[in-house]
Structure formats: structure tokens, C-alpha cells
């Protein structure tokens, strides 16, 4: 493969199962970096609330480091907010704090039969997201794939009600939990379709609440998987299912969800996953976004990049959000290694 592809060609061909000039190095989760924020002069607490700032911040990973994507938003509250939850962006704090839900809409079991607003896609930050995606597309969309993410139904349920209660009710009242997840799956599809209309090239569904650190593989299969299937069926752009933490026992289920690709983190034994899923399955991740990319040495960054490729990942892809404090030299070391080693 002589010709050098644009990031967009590379990523789209990867999803289509076609050969690429080199391994892609991208992500489906948050793309905020302190380096980018500093250059733009933006505060982390603000960029969630301003479409232009969000789009510009998301574009910095590709502009500064030549990363193969541009992904927004950076937090996990968009859908919950559209459903009526209040969020906290910690405007007073100088530290790097991620937005959280400050007020849930379900306070007890009896409130689980929620009403979904008819104008859902005009609520909360959905309009802002559309605008931000549009800005990024215009800015770099010709050569860089623009991605976004939504939550999985279980993780979203954990945002709008107490996770402790949700976990217990999953056993005690599975019907109620299923009914809620069915509604939320429809919400997720609606939001994903809005993002598609706004122009995203691919989407990640983050179902981290259903990691095997928390929920058994059996419960994942019976309770979560059917809803994920119903979501992926409706998504048109290339899709990724992400779950962090322990996942080796559920990668088969994950792949069976209908997602084009799956994403795991460093707790997954990816060589084993590759063996299980065969040579053609798209498996991303396994790259430790903090202990390697942020606090590791440049050597460790290079070594990990090579190891992930050797173990059989289909793309170099940090196992969670890019952690903002990533040192620029580490980010560059990862990209250089992919460009060089990822050719074979």
C-alpha cells in the first residue's frame, strides 16, 4: 500500500474491512487534552457548554498530534440531561473535573416508569451537540472522521437512578429493569440518529456499567445484550461497543450485539480475545490510557503500542477517554510508533 491515506479514508476502510496504508490510531471516546485546551485558552469546565469550544477542543488531538479522529462530547451526561437530570460541571474548580449528574430523575422503584419527552432531541445539550458536530465536520470533516458516543441502556439507567438500586432490581424485579431499558434504548437510538443526521462518521456505545467487574457474564447475556442488539440494529454509521474493565468472558456476546467493532481496555487479554473471535473481528483498545499514555515513559508508550498490535488489535485505540493530562511527547511517541510499526 504505497499511497498515504487521510485519517478519514483509513478509518472508514477499516470499518469496511478493507486494507489500509497503516494501522489506524484513534478513539471513540473523549478527545480533550490539556495541551489542546491550553493552546485554545479554554477551561475544561466550559467546553461542555459551548458548541464551538467543544468542536475546537475535540479537533486538537488530530490537529496537534495527527490522531486519526475527532470525538465529542467529553462527558457522560448528555442523554441523562435531555431526560431531565441536572448536571454539575464544577465551574468553580481549577482541577480537571468531569461533569456529573447532580439530580437524578428516578428516586425510587415506583418512579421507574418514566415519560420520555416528545421533544427529546431539542432538550438539554442535544442541539448543542448537533451544532458542535456540524462545526467539526466543516472544519476538518473532509480528512478526519468525526465521531461521537452515546451510553448503553444499563449505564444510562445508572445515570438517571441510583446504581445500587438498579443493580439489585436487576435481580429482584428484572421486568421493571427491562421495561426501563427498553425505553432508554429508544432514547439512545433517537440521540444516535440525531448525531448521524449532524454528520458523524462513526459512533461508540459505552456500556461500562455492565463490565464484568460489576455484573456477571450471565446477567450481561440475558439482561443487557437483547437491548444492545435492538440499538445496533437501528444505527447506520459504523458502530463500536465499548466496555471497560474485565471483559474476556463477554467478548463473544459483545461481538454478537451487532456492533461493527468492539472496544475493551487494558484488563482484557487481547491475544485471547483475538483467538476467540477469529482474524476478521474488529477489536479495538487494550491500550492503558493512564498508566501508559499519561504516566508511562516514552519507551513504555512505544512498547505498549507495538504490543497491542502484536497481540492483534485492529487499531491502536486507548481503552477509555484520552486522559487530558497526557504529555505531548507521549502522544507523539504513540503516533510515531503506529506510523512506523503499524505499516505491516
Amino acid at each position: 500500500m504505497a499511497e498515504i491515506m487521510t485519517a478519514k479514508e483509513r478509518v472508514l476502510k477499516l470499518f469496511a474491512g478493507e486494507p489500509t496504508d497503516r494501522a489506524a490510531c484513534f478513539s471513540g471516546m473523549g478527545n480533550a487534552t490539556t495541551e489542546g485546551l491550553t493552546r485554545l485558552g479554554y477551561k475544561f469546565a466550559q467546553v461542555h457548554l459551548n458548541a464551538r469550544q467543544m468542536a475546537e477542543t475535540a479537533a486538537t488531538t488530530s490537529k496537534i498530534f495527527d490522531f486519526d479522529c475527532c470525538v465529542m462530547p467529553f462527558d457522560l451526561c448528555v442523554e441523562a440531561e435531555a431526560l431531565g437530570c441536572k448536571i454539575n460541571t464544577y465551574p468553580h474548580s481549577e482541577d480537571l473535573l468531569y461533569p456529573t449528574i447532580k439530580e437524578k430523575i428516578i428516586h425510587n422503584e415506583d418512579e421507574m416508569d418514566i415519560g420520555v419527552p416528545g421533544d427529546l432531541t431539542e432538550r438539554g445539550r442535544i442541539p448543542l451537540m448537533r451544532e458542535a458536530i456540524g462545526i467539526a465536520k466543516k472544519d476538518i470533516g473532509d480528512s478526519v472522521p468525526v465521531g461521537s458516543y452515546v451510553l448503553g441502556p444499563f449505564t444510562l439507567a445508572g445515570q438517571i437512578m441510583e446504581l445500587n438500586d438498579l443493580l439489585k432490581l436487576s435481580f429482584k424485579k428484572p421486568d421493571k429493569v427491562n421495561a426501563l431499558m427498553e425505553k432508554l434504548s429508544a432514547v439512545i437510538v433517537q440521540v444516535a440518529q440525531e448525531f448521524e443526521k449532524a454528520g458523524i462518521d462513526y459512533i461508540t456505545v459505552r456500556e461500562m456499567g455492565a463490565t464484568s467487574d460489576v455484573l456477571s457474564p450471565r446477567a450481561f447475556n440475558t439482561l443487557i445484550l437483547p437491548h444492545l442488539k435492538s440499538i445496533f440494529k437501528e444505527i447506520k454509521v459504523p458502530s463500536v461497543l465499548h466496555i471497560c474493565g474485565k471483559t474476556n468472558d463477554i467478548v463473544g456476546f459483545m461481538m454478537g450485539s451487532g456492533a461493527k467493532a468492539i472496544s475493551v481496555d487494558q484488563k482484557n487479554d487481547v491475544a485471547d480475545t483475538r483467538k476467540k473471535l477469529g482474524p476478521n473481528a474488529l477489536v479495538f483498545g487494550n491500550y492503558d490510557p493512564y498508566n501508559v499514555l499519561v504516566s508511562g515513559s516514552e519507551d513504555l508508550v512505544r512498547e505498549t503500542t507495538r504490543k497491542c498490535l502484536d497481540d492483534g488489535v485492529s487499531a491502536v485505540w486507548p481503552g477509555c477517554d484520552i486522559w487530558p493530562t497526557v504529555p505531548p511527547e507521549n502522544f507523539r511517541a504513540m503516533m510515531e510508533t503506529v506510523k512506523d510499526y503499524g505499516k505491516q
Binding site: 473535573l97 436487576s170 486522559w323
Partner: protein, 230 residues
């Protein structure tokens, strides 16, 4: 008065009610235990707590996951509620009180809740501040409740740094208080660096450490009192 055999049968059933996360049976059996003359302390420790220990082992072996653990805890609390008024004197070697919470900016509280549960089980008085707790709140609550121990949880490398400030503040105001920290990004190394008195990778070790710390604290106090008398 029940026979020894009957008593041990009741204890076994109580233990199983916790393991099988059967809240109703736990309540019923706690009452049966009282009615048939089983000592409340025994029912708690050889029934409920013993069941919870087994649950911990099942969790470690990944036969149980977090939902099962939480449901077992509910069964245990249900039995405890009935037995507690009849306890003569909880004798655990130590009795302590602890302030616990997940630090500001962090809503990951599954791990914290498990640690909290261990303290409840062991008869500690627990002041749970919840998650996303403003840093000053820990200092305030410790002073207000005069707790022996403050437990801080953080699951993110960004929020973890808040612990450093809390530790400094508490140690300034109240140098005798013991502070224990935990959560996935935390390590023994960090605990040492920031001057925390303890770190534990999981809930069982957290409890063991806490008991040791509080014993040493109590010993210090007793020695001080004894010295005063002389």
C-alpha cells in the same frame, strides 16, 4: 431453650439466608433465634457475619458479582436490625467510628459502598457522606463526629489528588485521626507519599487495617490516661 443441635441449625440457616440473599428469611430466622434462646451476639457473628464472609469469598472467586453482594448485605442488615437491640455488648476487640465518602468530582461509589458495608458488619459507627463530597466536608464531619478514622475513596486519577488536600487539612486540625485511602488508581506508594495512615486494595483488607489502626489509637489513649493517673 433449644438444644445445641437446634441452635446450630438456626445459625446455619441464618448464614444461608445471607448467602442466598433472602431478606425475609433473614428476618424470620433472626426472630426464631431470639425466640429459641440463641444469644444475639452469636446469631450475629456465627450466623449473619459468617454468611457475609462466605459471600466475600464468592465475590473474590467471581461466582458473585456486585448485585449479589448488595443483596446479601440487605439480608444481613435485615437480620441485624432485629438482633441489634438484644446485643449485650458488641465485643470486637475494638469499636470505632468512621467517616467515609468518595471525594469531590467523583461519582464512582460502588467500591466505597462495599467498604462501608464491611465496617457496618463489623459494628463500627459509620458516617457515610456519599459521593462527590466537597473536600472540606470530610474535615468538618470528622470534627463534628469525633471519628477515629476517615476513609477516602477515589476512582479517577484526577479526583484522587483531592485526597492530598484532605489529608493535609485533617492532619493539621486533628493529628491523631487515622486516614485510610483506596480506590483503583490509589496505591500504597501514594498513601505513603501523601501521609495517609493506611491503604487497602479491597474491602476485606480495609477492615483489617482499620481494626489495627483503631486498636493502636485506643492503646495510645489508654496509655495517656494511665500516665495522667500516675
Amino acid at each position: 431453650m433449644a438444644t445445641e443441635e437446634r441452635k446450630s441449625e438456626i445459625l446455619d440457616k441464618l448464614r444461608n439466608a445471607v448467602i442466598e440473599y433472602d431478606e425475609d428469611s433473614a428476618k424470620e430466622l433472626a426472630q426464631t433465634a431470639l425466640d429459641e434462646g440463641v444469644d444475639a451476639n452469636t446469631a450475629i457473628f456465627n450466623g449473619l457475619v459468617s454468611g457475609m464472609q462466605k459471600v466475600g469469598a464468592l465475590f473474590e472467586k467471581q461466582e458473585y458479582f456486585v448485585p449479589e453482594l448488595l443483596m446479601c448485605a440487605d439480608a444481613l442488615y435485615a437480620g441485624l436490625e432485629i438482633l441489634k437491640p438484644h446485643v449485650k455488648q458488641m465485643d470486637l476487640g475494638v469499636r470505632g467510628s468512621v467517616v467515609i465518602g468518595t471525594v469531590e468530582g467523583d461519582v464512582h461509589d460502588i467500591g466505597k459502598n462495599i467498604v462501608k458495608m464491611m465496617f457496618d458488619v463489623a459494628g463500627f459507627t459509620v458516617y457515610d457522606l456519599g459521593r462527590d463530597v466537597p473536600l472540606d466536608k470530610f474535615v468538618e464531619e470528622q470534627l463534628k463526629t469525633d471519628s477515629d478514622l476517615v476513609c477516602l475513596s477515589a476512582m479517577m486519577t484526577t479526583t484522587m489528588v483531592g485526597m492530598k488536600k484532605i489529608i493535609e487539612d485533617i492532619k493539621k486540625k486533628n493529628p491523631k485521626v487515622k486516614i485510610m485511602i483506596g480506590g483503583a488508581p490509589v496505591s500504597q506508594d501514594i498513601a505513603d507519599k501523601w501521609g495517609a495512615d493506611g491503604y487497602a486494595p479491597d474491602a476485606t483488607n480495609a477492615l483489617k487495617d482499620a481494626i489495627n489502626m483503631i486498636s493502636s489509637l485506643k492503646k495510645l489513649k489508654e496509655d495517656a490516661e494511665a500516665n495522667k493517673k500516675i
